[in-house]
């Protein structure tokens, strides 16, 4: 049993303490925008914000994040207005298959919060998500566009 504060709502989920946050979000809360890719905190498809910091939700348990502010891709748009990263993503037509993009967008949104005008090197250091389609060129373009939005 864990109390999770997700996208501003507190939700009581009936799971074991060691359940990865990813699976509680997807299966118990029912928000499927956060994706499973590897389960070992490598690929970043499951990236969410925990107290504003990008985290790989497959690598943290529900008990570790109980009471903390968790934001998923579904909660990124505030008050029905898309986040500037989402808007930049649409303008640059970034996604191909799109499966990694929730995690990519969440990682970028957290980066821009911390570093509003990242250089290419900053981006290289901070964004470590895997995209097998290879959208990186558009990802970089959209990050700069969002930073300048």
């Amino acid at each position: 049993m864990a109390n999770l504060k997700i996208n501003g709502k507190t939700i009581n989920v009936d799971v074991e303490d060691d359940t990865p946050l990813l699976w509680a979000i997807r299966e118990n809360v029912g928000l499927t925008g956060t994706k499973y890719g590897c389960g070992i905190a490598q690929c970043g498809a499951c990236t969410v914000h925990v107290d504003g910091v990008a985290m790989r939700s497959c690598g943290v348990t529900v008990s570790e994040v109980a009471g903390k502010d968790i934001t998923t891709i579904e909660g990124l748009a505030a008050g029905g207005v898309m986040h500037k990263v989402q808007l930049a993503w649409i303008a640059s037509d970034v996604p191909q298959c799109g499966y990694c993009q929730s995690g990519m967008i969440m990682a970028v949104a957290a980066l821009l919060k911390e570093n509003p005008k990242p250089t290419d090197d900053d981006i290289n250091d901070a964004i470590t998500n895997i995209c097998r389609c290879g959208t990186f060129q558009q990802v970089r373009e959209a990050i700069h566009a969002a930073a300048n939005a």
Binding site: V15, E16, T19, P20, W23, E27, N28, G30, L31, T32, G33, T34, K35, Y36, G37, C38, G39, I40, Q42, C43, A45, T72, I73, E74, L76, A77, M82, Q86, W89, I90, D93, V94, P95, Q96, C97, G98, Y99, C100, Q101, S102, I105, I123, N124, D125, I127, T128, N129, I130, C131, R132, C133, G134, T135, F136, Q137, Q138, V139, R140
Partner: protein, 742 residues
């Protein structure tokens, strides 16, 4: 409550409209009665007719490809699968171009394979592999759009009692030129759907295109930025349970026994079921519970003789195939290469090899199945709806009219989701729990260890020169695995796998670009037990590395510039040469590169397209490679969406270079050693070079886009590596040579 009907089940899914079928199945009952033969039906592409077929919302079909709603929304049916490559948008552009509709009012939907079969394959081939999505359906989808346009204009003309020739259309608005009367597609669609389709349908000259040929935005982007897009893994059905599966880690092995009692008390566990004779699945309330229990389930395997196989034993067996005394299939030859080599003034020889690769789609394999004795429905991402349908037919044992497949967005395909193993497994599990929807999801570990791998090959190349350093002979001897032998044995030609010669074939869609007086290209087929599959680029990958790296070796031996050396051999292949020249010019071949930067070049033909690539790299300490810049050129005949072609080109380099640097699946004790992205890594943004696409469509043919350029990714970089270091790398991945990204 379980969904009682297909429509209810579909409505219970929270899915995106672009990809969810909304056809009313009842409309096809008459057709279904004639569909007993399943997929063994001829192609009968309908372009409309007197009896109106309706979509689920009642809107009339003008024909199978085009539904128009009263509010002028145009629903374009897409049979091929979208997996990121942009086919959904590109095909819609082609239909919309001929239809002359308002692009801003276009939406798309997938017909189901069951519906297609019930209508004598109304939508033709569903298969989305081999870069075929657009090139092999462009003619009939454009005809579908053009036919619908003519019927819509005719319907307006009938209403106005004027000849259709006096009417014109633009953006879905029909105008009677002399009277100025106008109407819209939405208003005449009902009448148009009742007309006999015209027989004489003329397609536009591509030079007149206004929707196709443009870099329009994809139709599926928004939902991919909000988390709303529904992939197979996201399917939710009422009462659904989740399954995790473990197949025998040694391919060909079997389950001997498993001890269900050890996990049956674990939280959420509902059932433990055998799947075929080689796998076990745990069904639980959540997938996490299923997977956690499966990890604790004692399973005893009968691994069989394959457990003795390793990468070393495979390599040894393949190396024996390089011996000319061993039998081999001849794929391409002219002159007498062996004799010319024997008498040559100078000869050069090299042996290359290329490893297994996993597709590693971001979304692991999965399928959701609801089975009852009266119905088997499958929800999954698949590159081939009809193959998934056929797999569900066979695995369920039900007749065609009781089976259907609902396609969802694919979290990557790259060839993997053209296979149907995961569909068969999901049906086999659901069949043991009738009435309960089951979602089968593979763990990443299962996905890594039960792939359909890029085949393993070796190649011995021998080139011979005359006294003037002219190349007089080339012997290309390939040894290794055939994909078709395993996947489509019926496509073998007297035992030979014609696809093994992709990129080095005499003619066709993957023809060699060089004319050598004495040429011998042959394949000693050796098929290890590891299951092969079509992996983006397929046999072009290794063939292009072998041929293009060796071309550089030959140029070096002849003391000539790699570009000039190639050009001399390409006089009879002007289209190959044109793309090579295009990249050479754009990268500045022959002009000084920036300090410390070195260039490499390569070309190949695959999937009907001519492609070339050039790389600029720098190397630190002989082993740290920074890829600064890639120029890649393609001549696919026609470009339907340049923005998407550009993205496919860039993406193909990520896929190809990931495999070159990080990939390589190795075999130990009969199983694949790599289990996740920690041991089978993939490029990140910091390793991404700048990729510049040069599109030189020359027209008159239709080539593919998704795959061809992957062929030149690795050899362009490897040839640049030689330019930088003087070292040839002939076995891969580069990590095994302690070479990495800088």
């Amino acid at each position: 409550m379980l969904p009682r009907t297909h429509e209810e089940a579909a409505m219970n899914l929270q899915v995106n409209q672009h990809i969810m079928p909304t056809l009313n199945r009842r409309a096809f009952v008459i057709g279904a009665a004639t569909a007993g033969a399943g997929l063994a039906l001829g192609l009968d592409l309908p372009f409309g007719g007197p009896s109106v077929v309706r979509a689920a919302d009642g809107a009339p079909e003008v024909n199978a490809w085009v539904v128009i709603r009263p509010d002028d929304t145009v629903v374009i049916r897409i049979a091929r699968s979208e997996m990121g490559q942009g086919t959904l948008t590109g095909l819609a552009q082609l239909v919309a171009e001929e239809l002359e509709c308002d692009w801003s009012k276009v939406t798309t939907e997938y017909p189901t394979p069951g519906q297609s079969v019930a209508r004598k394959r109304a939508w033709g081939d569903f298969s989305t592999g081999g870069s075929r999505g657009i090139r092999t359906s462009q003619d009939y989808v454009r005809k579908g759009g053009a036919t619908a346009r003519m019927m819509l204009i005719q319907a307006a003309a009938n209403e106005w009692k004027v000849p259709a020739t006096e009417c014109k259309v633009s953006n879905g608005v029909i105008t009677h030129t002399s009277s100025g009367k106008t109407t819209t597609y939405g208003k005449v669609a009902e009448a148009a759907a009742r007309l006999e389709p015209p027989v004489d349908v003329k397609l536009k000259d591509p030079k007149d295109w206004t929707i196709a040929g443009k870099g329009l935005k994809r139709l599926d982007t928004v939902d991919k930025t909000t988390g709303k897009m529904t992939y197979g893994i996201d399917v939710k059905l009422p009462g659904m349970l989740n399954a995790a599966i473990k197949d025998c880690p040694v391919f060909g092995g079997k389950v001997k026994s498993f001890d269900e009692a050890k996990i049956s008390g674990m939280k959420g566990v509902k059932k433990v079921v055998p799947v075929g004779d080689s796998a076990v699945a745990v069904v639980a309330d959540t997938w996490w519970h299923a997977k956690s229990a499966l990890d604790k389930l004692p399973i005893v395997w009968d691994e069989g003789d394959n457990a003795k196989v390793s990468s070393e034993t495979i390599a040894k067996w393949l190396a024996e195939g390089l011996d000319n005394a061993q039998p081999a299939y001849v794929g391409n030859q002219n002159g007498d290469a062996k004799a010319a080599i024997a008498s040559a003034a100078k000869k050069v020889e090299a042996v290359y090899s290329y490893p297994y690769q996993n597709h590693a789609t971001m979304e692991p394999m999965n399928a959701t199945v609801l089975y009852t004795p009266d119905k088997c429905e499958v929800w999954c991402g698949t590159q081939n709806g009809e193959a998934a349908f056929a797999a569900a037919l066979e695995a369920s044992g039900l007749p065609a009219e009781k089976v259907d497949v609902h396609k969802l967005m694919l979290g990557g395909g790259f060839g993997r989701r053209g296979m149907t193993d995961y569909v068969r497994q999901a049906v086999a599990i659901a069949k043991q729990m009738p009435g309960t929807p089951i979602k089968l999801l593979w763990s990443r570990e299962e996905d890594m260890q039960h792939g359909k791998y890029h085949p393993v090959t070796q190649c011995k190349l021998t080139g011979a020169f005359d006294a003037d350093n002219n190349l007089v002979a080339l012997h290309y001897r390939l040894s290794g695995q055939s994909i078709l032998f395993s996947v489509r044995p019926e496509a073998l030609q007297n035992g030979m796998d014609p696809a093994a010669f992709q990129g080095v074939a005499q003619s066709g869609e993957a023809a060699i670009g060089y004319a050598v007086p004495n040429l011998l290209v042959e394949h000693a087929m050796r098929n290890p037990h590891v299951p092969p599959g079509f992996w983006r680029g397929v046999n072009v990958n290794h063939n292009a590395i072998y041929m293009e790296c060796f071309m550089d070796e030959l140029a070096q031996a002849a003391g000539q510039d790699p570009l000039e050396f190639r050009r001399k051999l390409m006089g009879k292949h002007p289209k190959h040469l044109a793309v090579l020249n295009a990249v050479a010019e754009k990268i500045g071949w022959g002009t000084p590169a920036p300090q410390g930067v070195y260039r490499g070049i390569a070309q190949v033909m695959g999937y009907g397209s001519y492609v070339a690539g050039a790389a600029e790299i720098s190397v630190t300490d002989g082993s740290k490679i920074k890829v600064h810049r890639i120029v890649a050129s393609t001549d696919p005949g026609y470009v339907v969406n340049p923005a998407q072609v550009e993205r496919q080109i860039a993406g193909s380099f990520v896929y190809g270079l990931s495999a070159l640097f990080y990939g390589g699946c190795t075999v130990k004790d009969g199983r694949i050693e790599q289990t996740n992205f920690d041991t089978y890594n993939s490029m990140r943004i910091n390793e991404m070079p700048k990729v510049e696409a040069v599109m030189v469509p020359s027209g008159g043919f239709w080539g593919g886009v998704g795959e061809p350029t992957i062929g030149v990714a690795a050899p362009a970089v490897l040839n640049a590596y030689f330019a930088a270091t003087g070292k040839r790398i002939r076995t891969f991945p580069l990590r095994n040579q302690n070479i990495s990204f800088a």
